[in-house]
């Protein structure tokens, strides 16, 4: 038995049925970021110095490069999910909301790709 009203059924409105995966994605990426973020914070605090050579020496280590890649991609994903909820909460006009969501997705993907490319360029050596 469906509990939906006839009008609701005709309009096809209701849950998009992807809320659960959004919720899980946010939690699991959050747990990953707790680990990766603490590693990165510790690395920053104990880095030899902040000259260009120090940054290159740090990023070009294979383990560091892999962890930085994971951090960059996971951060972009977690940030996108969070910003999406904020936009959905506060932007009420349908067109503006859609535009903001698309812009946010493009921005996150763009910076994630720039980050990944930069790490690979340093790690593999251009």
């Amino acid at each position: 038995m469906s509990l939906r009203s006839p009008l609701g059924r005709v309009l096809g409105l209701g849950t998009a049925k992807d809320g659960t995966s959004h919720w899980w994605g946010q939690r699991v990426s959050g747990v990953a970021l707790a680990i990766l973020g603490l590693w990165f914070a510790w690395s920053l605090a104990t880095m030899a110095g902040f000259a260009h050579d120090d940054a290159i020496a740090f990023i070009s280590q294979p383990l560091h490069a892999v962890l930085l890649l994971l951090l960059c991609v996971t951060m972009a994903y977690h940030s996108y999910l969070g910003v999406q909820v904020v936009i959905e909460d506060y932007v009420h006009s349908h067109g503006l909301k859609l535009a903001a969501l698309v812009l946010s997705r493009f921005t996150h993907i763009f910076f994630a790709v720039v980050g990944v490319f930069s790490i690979l360029r340093i790690g593999i050596g251009a």
Binding site: V31, M75, F117
Partner: protein, 125 residues
């Protein structure tokens, strides 16, 4: 039936902020701050890859007074969002949702975030 005695929802201007309300708003605010911090992180990587000249521009901006204030802010945002995020994960298991418990964990998270931020800058300097 008269309903005149029922409690009214509190008016915003006379509403005493529970600390749990502040922690909730701060979680969102620090999240947004770190969405911007993500772009800073990518700038650090990209300027490192681009070479010493681009990197000098980055460290010059980050080392200015304004840059330092922002960096301290971002580090606190990170530790706050981390600590309060773990608080949210505990809530997700159904634990710690009572009023008194939530108030206690709110203060704990606030104090912890300040302590971790101070510890971070102590180790860094």
């Amino acid at each position: 039936m008269t309903n005149n005695d029922r409690p009214l929802s509190p008016h915003l201007s006379i509403y005493r902020w529970p600390v749990t309300m502040a922690t909730s708003i701060l979680h969102r605010a620090t999240g947004i701050a770190m969405a911007a911090g993500f772009i800073l992180f990518v700038f650090w990587l990209a300027d490192s890859a681009a070479g010493p000249d681009a990197y000098a521009v980055f460290t010059g901006a980050a080392g200015s007074i304004f840059g330092k204030i922002l960096l301290v802010g971002w580090s606190w945002a990170f530790f706050y969002h981390l600590a309060n995020g773990i608080r949210h994960l505990v809530w997700d298991t159904g634990r710690g949702l009572g009023k008194e418990e939530a108030t206690r964990s709110a203060w704990f998270v606030i104090v912890l975030s300040v302590v971790l931020t101070a510890g971070f800058w102590l180790v860094a300097s």
